[in-house]
């Protein structure tokens, strides 16, 4: 019988890129940023659009739109839309499809005009949707509510403090200072975070991610094909995904992130690596609490202990646990569905392309994302070693 373990290292990531620019880009549409990133990622992989036989994208009304825009006729199409971690899940789906012989070269693209709102599909919950009936009339207008609810419970139950949340923002800003593509690069102190405006208590403004425009793309192919391409292959050792709910009020637990516990367990089981083998962690930071709960869910620390884990700038450059080395959603970019940038940065770290922010001798990385409001989770373990 087939089992997930058989997929281990059967595929590799061979091309990654951002759009030409990230930030506030009123002169570009969302689809144009899909295209810029796709073209650059294919060039990075030494491939052309005519080589691509599978396209995975997310965030459009129909998944047919991106292939048409890019001049591709895919024979395998992925449109899984589970929030910001969708692209991490796409890697799992691409690997499975490649392993099954349904396609050979998969292009995963993202483009979002999250700030300027140029060429974005009109999406809102209908008046008779579940969200509109059971959550929105209470003022749950943004993710700052859904993520904040977990932060407040964590503080109550485990004694986590606002200072500990701020540690994440400060450490992440230090990485951003080393990344020329990052939006905010000037130094930040714990006090700066605590003194910034309260948005949705317990979150201050600087606990919250940016709102930007940009795109990203990733090329996945079989391990066999990868060995003929120009860049060092980054093998997909393990993947996992899970959805537990849609509305945050329906989340199964409020003291742990269940979807991430499951996706992490599956990814580590497939990869067959230990936590000590992970050299770099790219953990989606929509808010400071999100990577903290990911650290607990993925098993880097015990339940309730992430506040202590991130204290003392442990995740900053030079710290024991390099995390969100591009500057994260908090300081680098956050277009709305940030997940693809975790993959781009992990691959660059493992190839040794990160310049000033390069983590020395990084061989194995973990990427992890959230979707919706703790609703979905997807995890990816990648390595230059098979």
């Amino acid at each position: 019988m087939s089992e997930p373990r058989n997929l281990r290292a059967s595929a590799a990531i061979v091309g990654v890129a951002e759009s030409d620019e990230l930030g506030r880009l009123p002169h570009k549409s969302a689809l144009a940023m899909h295209m810029e990133a796709a073209q650059s990622a294919l060039a990075d992989a030494g491939l052309r659009n005519s080589d691509v036989d599978a396209v995975f994208s997310s965030g459009r009304i129909m998944a047919n739109e991106v292939p048409e825009y890019l001049g591709i006729r895919p024979r395998f199409i992925g449109g899984t839309l589970i929030g910001g971690c969708s692209f991490i899940a796409h890697v799992e789906h691409a690997m499975a499809a490649i392993h099954a012989g349904l396609c050979e070269v998969a292009l995963i693209t993202h483009g979002e005009s999250g700030y300027s709102r140029v060429g974005m599909p009109a999406t809102r919950w209908g008046d008779d949707s579940l969200n509109f009936q059971f959550e929105l009339p209470y003022g749950t207008m943004g993710p700052a509510t859904g993520y904040g609810l977990m932060a407040r419970r964590h503080m109550h139950q485990f004694g986590t403090t606002s200072e500990q949340l701020a540690e994440v923002a400060v450490a992440t800003r230090k990485w951003a200072a080393l990344n020329p593509m990052a939006m905010y690069r000037e130094p930040l102190s714990i006090d700066d975070v605590l003194n910034s405006k309260v948005i949705s208590w317990p979150f201050h403004l600087l606990d919250c991610c940016l709102v930007t425009d940009g795109g990203g793309a990733v090329v996945v192919t079989s391990a066999a094909r990868a060995s003929d391409l120009p860049k060092k292959p980054v093998y997909v050792l393990g993947t996992g995904e899970c959805v537990t709910h849609q509305m945050v009020s329906q989340m199964p637990s409020f003291d742990q992130w269940d979807a991430a516990i499951e996706s992490g367990k599956r990814a580590f089981a497939m990869a067959g690596v230990r936590h000590a083998d992970i050299d770099v962690a790219e953990l989606y930071d929509a808010f400071t609490i999100v990577p903290m709960l990911a650290l607990e869910a993925l098993g880097f620390c015990k339940k309730g202990e992430s506040g202590g884990f991130v204290a003392g700038q442990r995740t900053a450059p030079g710290g024991e646990f390099p995390m969100n080395t591009n500057g994260g959603g908090l300081s680098y970019t956050h277009t709305g569905m940030y997940g693809i940038y975790t993959i781009i940065e992990a691959v660059r770290q493992l190839r040794g392309e990160c310049g000033e922010r390069q983590v020395p001798d990084a061989k194995t990385a973990i990427c992890h994302g959230t979707g919706g409001q703790w609703s979905a989770a997807a995890t990816l373990i990648v390595s230059t070693d098979k």
Partner: protein, 140 residues
């Protein structure tokens, strides 16, 4: 705040949720109970999400519960349900299900609002058609 001051989202029921909204208008909080697996659930659905039985019934919740968690939203605006700052909360009902709500009749101050504090339901008409269940602290 009276109904004519509310400028937030006004829900539109579906056939499956209509009894819940009709009851709220009468000052009753309806949830559902599965007659096969004996568990309560919320939000309204025609089948039990625990066992997919169709053998389900509407029951009136006792209206008491505990404040599981909350945030204090500082965001003002036409889509806000209450003048900012206001408390967005998740309440766990005594029967078990959890729901999103606002905590009202309380100062929006983290020092005054404790997770796990007892709360009870109260109702607010937001339009001629729709009444929202909200919760307030129980002062013992």
């Amino acid at each position: 705040m009276g109904a004519n001051e509310y400028t937030g989202p006004i829900p539109k029921p579906t056939p499956e949720t209509q009894p819940y909204w009709d009851a709220a208008k009468q000052g009753k909080l309806l949830i559902q109970r599965c007659d096969d697996c004996a568990r309560h659930y919320f939000y309204p659905r025609p089948l039990c999400p625990h066992c997919l039985s169709r053998n389900v019934a509407w029951v009136e919740a006792c209206g008491r519960g505990k404040l599981l968690t909350y945030v204090i939203s500082m965001r003002p605006g036409r889509s806000a349900p209450l003048p900012a700052p206001y408390v967005v909360a998740i309440v766990e009902l005594e029967e078990g299900p959890r729901l999103m709500t606002n905590l009202v009749d309380v100062e929006p101050d983290p020092d005054k609002i404790a997770c796990d504090m007892p709360v009870t339901v109260t109702f607010a008409a937001i339009s001629d058609e729709v009444t929202l269940p909200r919760f307030r602290p129980v002062h013992e």
